[in-house]
């Protein structure tokens, strides 16, 4: 009872704090637990970009941005708690960086009228804006990723992978299971054999899966892993001497943290990506000047320029641009979550705009629309150079096979609409 009273007093105190004019971006981060290696750089990048905007430009449209961090530990229950505790503070957009939490929040954000951006994760069929009014997953989703990986295999095999054996090593959760449907369709279309190997949370134990790979000798291995699972998988692949250039991860399995533990043996490992790599962009000079040198960098400040830091930065950039669009549409500098949703739906990212922001060629140029919340779905392949300790793009940003993906998106989103009695919006 005492505890309850104390919490009551405390939350009353917090609720009573005066609301200042600011744009609130909750960051449901995870800096602890088995997925922290991925959560930390993303959260740092997300926070640093808003710090940069505040320091350099005085906020967005003259209003300061505020990043509200809440630790989820990748746990859905804590994710719910974080959502409830931050939504009352004027949250504009949620980016939970967890497919499990995304599934939980989709109905909640829709009921509360707050947009959610799940960049490259979450529920793939949310790309259908007619059904998922408040959920966005531009510029690319898992099914694009699966198709991009297969496209790469087609490229290196001269367009024919008939009869090849492809194994998918996946995190046994909603996240890992997402690409299976698409890969099955693609297997039918291109005539390759697909075998599925599930790895249970958190993924430290993969001996049996890799033993099976050693026995079945697939030509290629795809991986849908996250957190500690990635490093273990790459180490196991090294142990069975699986050729690294035939091992392709999704974008969540392609960061420095994943390949560094295996040392030189990880050389040649590939991953799909939907944004550029490295820190050779003008925006990083500004980050150095306004954020790092002033001592305002988030976290330990040692992640700048890593793959996942860049992804956090990119997510923040898209959120900031959507905010600008929303300010323009609504005519107010202090926007609401509903304005933000409209801004995200009208978002247009052009090459000129990205150059202006100091990120030329950082991601694709695209336009979001009422019906398409999924963006263009383009991506490239990056490869690890163990000697130089850096990722290099080895292909251009190419399209994915929307011929296969679009029907799947329509089917899955319509099934969701039917289950939940949602009438698809009219988008014309």
């Amino acid at each position: 009872m005492k505890l309850k009273l104390a919490t009551l007093a405390l939350s009353a105190l917090m609720a009573a704090a005066p609301a200042m004019a600011e744009l609130v971006y909750p960051s449901l981060s995870y800096r602890t637990g088995p997925y922290a290696a991925g959560g930390i750089p993303f959260a740092d990048g997300y926070a640093d970009y808003f710090t940069l905007l505040n320091e350099r430009d005085g906020g967005i449209g003259g209003v300061k941005a505020k990043v509200l961090e809440c630790e989820t530990g990748y746990s859905t229950e804590k994710g719910v708690e974080c959502y409830e505790s931050t939504k009352g503070e004027g949250a504009l957009v949620y980016q939970p960086l967890s497919t499990g939490i995304t599934y939980q929040l989709i109905p909640k954000v829709t009921a509360d009228g707050i947009p959610m951006h799940t960049m490259g994760y979450g529920r793939t069929s949310a790309a259908n804006g007619k059904v998922f009014s408040n959920v966005f997953n531009y510029p690319a989703n898992y099914w694009n990723g699966a198709s991009l990986a297969i496209n790469h295999l087609l490229d290196i095999n001269g367009g024919d992978i008939k009869g090849k054996k492809v194994a998918l090593v996946y995190h046994n959760s909603a996240y890992g299971k997402e690409p299976i449907r698409t890969l099955e369709e693609l297997a039918k279309k291109h005539g390759f054999e697909l075998s599925l190997l599930a790895v249970d949370h958190p993924g430290q134990e993969q001996k049996s899966q890799w033993l099976q790979i050693r026995r079945e000798k697939p030509d290629y291995v795809l991986m849908w892993g996250w957190g500690v699972m990635n490093q273990v998988a790459i180490q196991e692949a090294v142990n069975i001497r699986f050729p690294m250039e035939n091992f392709i991860g999704i974008w969540w399995s392609g960061s420095e943290n994943d390949v560094l533990p295996a040392g030189d043996a990880a050389n040649g490992y590939k991953a799909v990506t939907f944004h550029n790599v490295g820190n050779d962009f003008p925006v990083f000079d500004d980050i150095q000047k306004y954020v790092v040198d002033t001592g305002k960098a988030a976290g330990a400040g040692d992640q700048i320029g890593t793959v996942l830091y860049n992804r956090g930065l990119y997510a923040a950039m898209l959120a900031a641009e959507a905010t600008r669009k929303a300010q323009e549409l609504s005519g107010n500098a202090q926007i609401t979550a509903a304005d933000m949703r409209n801004g995200m739906e009208a978002l247009e990212i052009t090459e000129e705009r990205m150059t202006e922001l100091g990120m030329p060629g950082f991601g694709p140029s695209f336009k979001v629309s009422c019906a398409n919340h999924g963006g263009p779905g383009t991506g490239a392949i990056q490869q690890w150079d163990a000697a130089a300790k850096e990722w290099k793009l080895i292909s251009d940003f190419g399209p994915s096979d929307m011929e296969v993906i679009q029907p799947l998106i329509d089917e899955d989103s319509m099934a969701y609409a039917k289950e939940n009695n949602i009438t698809p919006r009219d988008c014309n």
Binding site: A6, M14, E77, E81, S85, K87, G88, K108, A111, G299
Partner: protein
């Protein structure tokens, strides 16, 4: 002074045997009920329901369930997470297969199904005891999670293996799905908690509870005086699993709304509920509530104090939370191995005599 028995005369056996024989206790209990049913629903908001009260109430049911098994019958179980998953998946299958039937019925049926599964996994308890039984129930935990991940029928062949609760209502008021009001969520859980606690309290005071306790204290002696171990142990597993199943069903339908078996009902859930039982106090209904409150509220409180009040970085606060909760658990186990319930009992004894020391 305030808390005393003097002048509180009992004239019948029923009065003498009631749950709260002391007037002051009884009135406090009535007051709590009035507050819980009549006051809180009018003031509750989304944050309080979702972050604090609903999880507390749901874990209280699970803790009562596990406390019957461990605290009253002495059968150590590590399968709680798996049994909660049975409740969740049973309620999901029932909700989607029979949408016209009330959700309350589905939750009760989910409890019943879990009771059957619990009895099946309780069978080894007739042969093995203590740590060995813990290992057998641990197998149940892993088997059940594996099963719900492996067989697509359980999650209606959805692509991601996630289950999500469709919208259902009680008396025309939504209790599941996104458009649910905080008070409705809270009331559903509260009704289940009240009924479970009342049922559990009365079961443990009756013949069944006595036979459980006889088995717990010394099973051979109990058998000699005529307690049937098969019946006692299996009823304990059934009743315990029934409550745990209800808790799992509520956790999925009312609280989370969507669940993934490995994440929501993994081994860490089994340990969490076990800690609640141990910290709250073995063999006590009040202890079940105290333990659940301790494990659910303390992290939220610490988070609010450290991050909200003192502006610490979230990761440092999260790590400190482990340190503080861990240290408190160790301190409790050393200073008061019988848990919060015993602490409360001692406090009551002291209060009865206060202000006179003897």
């Amino acid at each position: 002074m305030l808390y005393r028995e003097a002048g509180d005369f009992k004239t019948s056996y029923a009065e003498d045997n009631q749950t709260f024989p002391i007037k002051f206790d009884r009135y406090a209990y009535y007051l709590l009920l009035v507050a819980a049913f009549g006051v809180v629903p009018f003031f509750i908001n989304d944050y309080w329901a979702n972050a604090v009260l609903v999880p507390f109430l749901i874990y209280a049911i699970a803790t009562i369930g596990l406390n019957i098994l461990i605290g009253y019958c002495g059968q150590l179980s590590l399968g709680t997470g798996g049994f909660m998953a049975v409740g969740a998946f049973a309620s999901y299958k029932l909700m989607t297969a029979f949408p016209e039937v009330s959700i309350i019925v589905h939750i009760l049926l989910a409890g019943g199904i879990t009771a059957l599964v619990g009895m099946a996994f309780g069978l080894p308890s007739l042969r093995i005891k203590g740590f060995y039984l813990a290992v057998a129930t641990l197998a149940a935990q892993f088997f059940l999670v594996w099963l719900f991940n492996r067989v697509p029928w359980f999650y209606n062949y959805s692509a991601s293996g996630q289950i999500s609760a469709p919208e259902r209502s009680v008396f025309g008021i939504n209790v599941t799905g996104p458009n649910v009001d905080a008070w409705a969520q809270y009331m559903v859980c509260l009704v289940f908690v009240f009924a479970s606690a009342w049922l559990a309290r009365n079961l443990t005071r009756g013949t069944m509870g006595r036979s459980w306790m006889a088995i717990r204290d010394m099973d051979i002696a109990a058998e000699i005086i005529g307690v049937n171990p098969l019946k006692a142990k299996l009823t304990a597993f059934a009743v315990s699993s029934f409550f745990i199943g209800i808790a799992g069903a509520l956790l999925f339908t009312v609280y989370l709304g969507a669940a993934e078996v490995g994440e929501a009902f993994g081994i860490q859930k089994s340990f969490l509920v076990l800690f609640m039982v141990i910290i709250g106090g073995l063999g006590s209904i009040f202890g079940s509530f105290a333990g659940a409150a301790f494990m659910v509220l303390l992290p939220v409180l610490l988070k609010n104090v450290l991050v909200g009040g003192m502006n610490w970085p979230t990761d440092v606060a999260a790590h400190f939370q482990f340190v503080i909760v861990g240290a408190l658990i160790i301190a409790f186990l050393i200073l008061e191995p019988h848990g919060l319930a015993q602490l409360w009992r001692v406090a009551k004894e002291k209060l009865r005599l206060w202000p006179f020391p003897h």
